[in-house]
């Protein structure tokens, strides 16, 4: 033990700040959140004691008769059966939202990266220009897209009118509203994918392409047999991260659709947030949502990882 400390103390010292912050602010809250999901805690009953100042200035505390209590799995039953909130609607939205966003992020990112990986005039200009959306804070982008799709003053409807079509009330229908949010998020997320994939492309040895060319492979065959396999390590990581990030992407939905119409475009994360911080703050409901979201992601990540390791890929 002592020897182990002598040998590793500097490594531990280097990770200590991170570990402390994470355990105080990620794991303690996580445990507490899981606990809250089994109670009926909300804004009005969160105190376990009610304290009153006496005339002498002392505090007298009595147990709160309406304090939150343990309710077992009630929250989960309520949420999953639709008694409380709109879990399945939001779940469907989340899946559509995540699949659409990640597919386009990866597809467009890959396409642009392959193009930028060639040698041609103006390449560095395109590269910088195409990463610009990354530099825009998400909530600013959300407002910008909200405005672009604005029914009265938005440029999108302006263009439609200019070519003689009827303006669309984007935020009056579930799918058109979701479409605007997906557009905004694709715009925001492609640069990260593009840069990551571009890095992956540059790490593929040029010799491989020359060897394949000598073997008579067509450009398409080279793409299929060298580029895509060579990108596997990068792709597997960015798709996993991208999925998780998109799943938990808060500001876009929150500001672009604001759940319009009538909460129909809410995804799980924004739904949980509204439960916890709007109206009467229902902490237990938010926590229940949180546990469900986390479970979905953990299942997804482990299935994803198993799929990869079956194909001989370990990360």
């Amino acid at each position: 033990m002592r020897k182990s400390f002598d040998k590793h103390w500097y490594a531990w010292a280097m990770v200590l700040p991170t570990v402390v912050v994470l355990s105080v602010l990620v794991f303690a809250p996580l445990v507490q959140g899981v606990y809250q999901s089994f109670t009926d805690v909300n804004e009005s009953n969160q105190r376990s004691e009610i304290c009153k100042k006496t005339l002498g200035g002392d505090e007298v505390c009595t147990p709160n008769p309406k304090a939150s209590k343990f309710v077992g799995l009630d929250n989960y039953v309520d949420v999953l059966t639709g008694e409380q909130g709109h879990f399945w609607l939001q779940f469907t939205n989340t899946i559509v939202w995540t699949v659409a966003c990640v597919t386009f992020h990866y597809g467009l990112g890959l396409g642009l990266a392959v193009m930028l990986n060639r040698r041609f005039r103006g390449r560095s200009f395109y590269r910088v220009a195409l990463i610009v959306p990354w530099a825009v804070p998400a909530f600013v982008a959300a407002f910008a897209w909200r405005w672009i799709f604005d029914q009265q003053f938005g440029i999108f409807n302006g263009v439609l009118k200019a070519v003689g079509m009827d303006p669309v009330a984007w935020f009056d229908h579930r799918w058109s509203a979701l479409f605007t949010a997906i557009c905004a998020n694709i715009w925001l997320g492609v640069p990260f994918m593009m840069v990551a994939i571009l890095g992956g492309l540059q790490s593929i040895s040029a010799d491989l392409y020359e060897a394949a060319e000598m073997d008579g492979a067509s450009p398409w065959q080279r793409f299929r047999n060298i580029t895509l396999p060579g990108l596997r390590p990068v792709s597997s990581t960015v798709i996993l991260l991208g999925t998780i990030w998109t799943f938990n992407m808060f500001p876009i939905i929150y500001f672009v659709t604001r759940g319009q119409p009538a909460g129909q475009t809410e995804i799980l994360v924004t739904g949980a947030y509204r439960a916890g911080f709007e109206g009467i703050r229902d902490y237990s409901l938010a926590a229940t949502y949180g546990v469900l979201i986390l479970s979905i992601l953990i299942v997804y990540a482990s299935v994803y990882k198993r799929m990869l390791s079956k194909q001989g890929e370990v990360f």
Partner: protein, 299 residues
């Protein structure tokens, strides 16, 4: 691109011009047009929202609220004046600068040292920590925000900038440490060993040899942490309660309430918010590919 084929030595002036052969590096005209066409469209889409907001921000409010499209219409800085002098925007901006700067500095310090330890040392708990880092990426804001709110309230930190800095570090550090570990892995270990022989301890090696060499990785980390802090909304709205303490993420939405949104103020504010992010971005962008290649991509 269309570089000329190497000029053949023409000693006899009457020599027939050699047939124009397509060199390996050349691309057919069609392919060139397709390549540039696609990229121009992509660039247009990438830049359009930014440019449109910038153009709109110098239109008078009345122009913004018109249904016809116009690029320029009596340009004016009136929107900026209103944002800067008639609203609390400057205060929010200052708050955001402070929060983002602290997050950036603390985040880099924490993730760099953790990333270095993960890259170089085999210590008990290393594998577990790597897992935790990956796992924290999955935690939705929703499950953490209420308990963190409670903790912050107990510490008396609600409505303070410190609460946001700490919260943002938990978001940014795991990813950054993971990425920096990958970057440090690309720096040859022999440099550490040479430093050990030259008389440096682990901390000296880290500070005097490795950090100066990790600039691309650190630039990406800086960019990422800054942007995380600058653009975060959920914690900001939940933690900050007085208008004076709002950061931009929490404040900006006040310009565009559900009814009668002030798009004139919003566009000007959006441009002002994006400027610092853009500055950090352009310092980092040169390193983005290198930093991310080494880092985010290899597990």
């Amino acid at each position: 691109m269309s570089s000329m084929p190497p000029a053949t030595a023409t000693e006899t002036p009457a020599a027939v011009t050699p047939p124009r052969v397509r060199g390996r590096e050349d691309r057919s005209l069609l392919a060139s047009v397709a390549l540039h066409g696609t990229l121009i469209v992509a660039t247009f889409i990438a830049l359009f929202p930014v440019l449109w907001v910038m153009l709109s921000s110098i239109k008078p409010a009345s122009e913004i609220r018109r249904t016809e499209i116009s690029l320029f219409a009596s340009p004016t800085l009136e929107n900026y004046r209103k944002v800067l002098f008639d609203t609390n925007f400057p205060q929010w901006f200052l708050n955001s600068v402070i929060v983002a700067a602290f997050t950036m500095v603390i985040g880099i310090a924490m993730s760099a040292s953790a990333g270095y330890a993960l890259s170089r040392f085999n210590f008990p708990g290393k594998r577990g920590l790597m897992w935790v880092f990956l796992l924290t990426q999955m935690f939705p804001v929703a499950i953490l925000i209420v308990p963190i709110y409670t903790i912050m309230a107990n510490l008396g930190l609600i409505d303070t900038k410190a609460s946001l800095v700490i919260a943002y570090c938990t978001v940014a550090v795991p990813f950054c440490a993971w990425m920096l570990r990958g970057y440090f892995d690309t720096i040859p270990r022999e440099l550490d060993e040479a430093a050990a022989l030259d008389g440096l301890g682990p901390f000296g090696t880290f500070y005097r040899v490795i950090l100066p060499l990790a600039r691309p990785g650190l630039a990406v980390t800086a960019f990422y942490t800054f942007l995380t802090a600058w653009g975060e909304v959920a914690y900001a709205i939940a933690f900050m309660q007085t208008d004076d303490h709002y950061t931009l993420g929490a404040g900006l939405q006040q310009f565009v309430p559900q009814f009668s949104p002030r798009w004139d103020l919003l566009t000007a504010g959006a441009v002002l918010i994006t400027i610092p992010a853009a500055i950090v971005f352009f310092f980092a962008q040169k390193h983005l590919v290198a930093g991310l290649t080494a880092g985010g991509t290899k597990g």
